[in-house]
């Protein structure tokens, strides 16, 4: 609730400073620009729910984006659906390998994904021979996909909404989705009650990889260029959006609804700071301060809630 309130306050404040903010076209912009982040955040939330972390997603975005771009350069006639599918499969494979290492060998997720990040990023440079794929090499259909719309809804927003509906259902209403929470909140209890813990963990990283692959295709389409250093450090933004959205990094705690708000806050900040003429250099520092304040405020309110719960228990 605090999150929603801060979004409203920030929106009102920005709207007073610059009435351009709450126009339909600008809101559409915010949606399109937040789409990739929010798609990634769903995957990251599932990973965080199992008390894991995935630092390799920036590299996965770059790799799948680069592979798709190279495929499109070689075969410009390929339909966009195939390109997206290629990205998802490649990303999913990377995620599967990572999930395999983490679940079978009990390597800590942070280390495994750190290693994976280096490997995948290195291969991105290798497959592209350290060159960029620039806008003029890509087919027009692919570039127009980012700006196009589907029944009046921009493509990116449409995809993000579909992803959210799918995963909202998956996480909340399917058996496997509930297992993710079970594994995260108490791993040993989950194992004893017959949940295939290792498979759930492997699945979570595979889904994260697949979503990162999808995001890679969208990323390349949006910026109309694929580079070796695409999306470098994006994993930190995604983790930050999740944390603001109330997902705990120690596992078992987090909701899709919170996630939407967290990503929205991120997107609004990104959009609003230039609109109210904040210098681009201040824009680099402000997200850090906001995450810090958000998590500290969250900790304080949770402490008070715990205290109240404790008091109500005394007879």
């Amino acid at each position: 609730m605090g999150l929603l309130a801060s979004i409203v306050v920030i929106s009102i404040f920005v709207e007073i400073r610059n009435p351009m903010f709450l126009t339909l076209s600008n809101l559409k912009d915010i949606g399109v620009n937040t789409a990739i982040l929010s798609i990634l955040a769903v995957g990251m939330m599932m990973v965080l729910l199992t008390a894991g972390i995935d630092l390799s997603l920036g590299a996965t975005i770059a790799f799948s984006g680069m592979c798709v771009a190279l495929t499109l350069v070689a075969h410009p006639e390929l339909p966009i659906g195939v390109a997206i599918l290629e990205g998802i499969v490649l990303g999913g494979l990377i995620g599967l390998i990572l999930g395999f290492f983490i679940s079978r060998f009990s390597i800590l997720p942070i280390i495994a994904s750190l290693g994976m990040m280096d490997i995948v990023r290195g291969f991105t440079y290798v497959v592209s021979r350290s060159k960029w794929v620039s806008a003029y090499q890509m087919p027009d259909d692919f570039k127009n996909f980012a700006t196009g719309s589907f029944f009046g809804i921009p493509n990116f927003i449409f995809i993000a909404v579909v992803v959210y509906i799918l995963f909202y259902y998956f996480i909340n209403y399917t058996k496997v989705g509930r297992w993710i929470y079970a594994v995260g909140s108490n791993p040993s209890a989950a194992q004893i009650s017959g949940i295939p813990k290792k498979r759930v963990i492997a699945l979570v990283y595979t889904l994260m990889g697949a979503l990162a692959g999808l995001a890679g295709v969208l990323w390349v389409s949006k910026f109309a260029s694929a580079q070796g250093d695409t999306a470098e450090g994006e994993e930190m933004n995604v983790i930050a959006a999740c944390v603001i959205g109330g997902v705990s990094t120690t596992g078992g705690r987090g909701k899709v609804s919170g996630l939407v708000l967290g990503c929205l806050l991120f997107g609004i900040l990104d959009n609003a700071l230039p609109l109210i003429n904040v210098s681009p250099f201040w824009q680099k520092a402000i997200p850090g301060a906001i995450i810090l304040i958000a998590v500290m405020a969250n900790a304080v309110t949770r402490r008070q809630a715990d205290l109240r719960a404790l008091k109500s228990r005394t007879i």
Partner: protein
């Protein structure tokens, strides 16, 4: 039973448990790297190369030591803001010098900034023990680098006095100054980690925080101290890096935090806490450094190095996990 066996293994010296230690594996790896480099370049095997090559990779090594302490202290402790601390303190040093502050005072300012940044990290973690260090240092990482951008925007500052170059390029006899400083730091940290009660209490906290607290270790003060120390050591990296580059910008040292963590982990420090010895990371620093140098000779750029480091990182943890190496280091009851 299990408990007894492990203690016995630690007391009696036998060849198997001595040589099947992770550090020996690293020694072999380091030798392999040298053999590889020697095969690549016929001029490789000279004292000069051995001594001067480390100049190019030792600057980040100074943070590996305190990072070891951070990782050993467990509880999910990690510091990913170090690269931003380096950038911020370097920028402050550059800007203050260009605004008329004498160079020596600027260097002091650089260390003060770095220490303050570490202190802020530590105090947030102590005041909010429920927040994971990962998240806190993630946000301060963005914040510190952002402040560096606010101060300097997209410009670079340089024009340092000529004696300032000495830190990055100077020699003491045949040994580069930075190498000498590194050895001194390694010795100091080796003694602190393995021979002092402070070092032992870091391990104790990493193995069992609650037990450590109840046995009288001031865990909060320890956390604060370790993170402040990490900040302080980032000052060294800022100093040497700035001196070697001759100028500074807000985006210097980006990505260093991952390299530093990778070096510590390759050296056998567990991010789970309570595990790791000084020799491991020291060897890992040289393995990665000389490997990069050798692949540079082959004209292989950073990408191949990245792949190799990634594979090394995963396989090193894999091999240690199979319990051939360092079995006696794992306390009973821990996985």
């Amino acid at each position: 039973m299990e408990n007894k066996k492990i203690i016995l293994e630690e007391k009696t010296w036998n060849a198997k448990s001595f040589f099947f230690q992770w550090e020996w594996m690293l020694v072999v790896l380091l030798l392999l790297v040298h053999v590889f480099n020697g095969a690549v370049s016929p001029y490789y095997f000279s004292v000069d190369t051995f001594l001067s090559t480390p100049m190019s990779f030792l600057d980040q090594a100074f943070i590996v030591f305190p990072m070891m302490l951070v990782l050993i202290s467990g509880n999910g402790n990690i510091d990913i803001s170090v690269a931003s601390i380096v950038a911020l303190s370097s920028v402050i040093m550059g800007v203050s010098y260009n605004h008329g502050v004498p160079m020596s005072a600027s260097i002091v300012l650089c260390f003060l900034t770095a220490t303050l940044c570490g202190f802020i990290n530590g105090s947030i973690l102590v005041k909010f023990p429920e927040l994971p260090a990962m998240i806190v240092t993630l946000s301060t990482q963005i914040l510190y680098r952002g402040v560096a951008y606010i101060i300097l925007e997209n410009r670079a500052v340089g024009k340092f006095p000529s004696w300032f170059e000495y830190f990055g390029w100077g020699y003491v006899g045949p040994i580069p100054f930075i190498f000498l400083m590194f050895i001194i730091c390694a010795v100091i940290y080796g003694i602190v980690i393995h021979k002092t009660s402070f070092g032992r209490s870091v391990y104790a906290v990493g193995n069992n925080r609650t037990a450590a607290l109840y046995s009288g270790i001031k865990t909060n003060r320890l956390t604060l101290l370790i993170f402040t120390l990490t900040g302080f050591m980032s000052g060294f990296t800022a100093l040497f890096l700035t001196s070697r580059m001759g100028s500074t910008r807000p985006n210097i040292a980006s990505g260093y935090e991952m390299d530093i963590i990778a070096m510590a982990v390759l050296g056998g420090v567990s991010t789970d806490g309570g595990k790791g010895r000084i020799w491991g990371p020291v060897l890992a620093i040289f393995i990665i450094g000389y490997l990069e140098y050798g692949l540079g000779l082959l004209n292989q750029s950073a990408q191949v190095v990245m792949i190799i480091i990634g594979i090394l990182l995963i396989s090193s943890v894999l091999i240690q996990d199979i319990h051939i190496f360092g079995k006696h280091r794992v306390l009973p009851g821990r996985k």
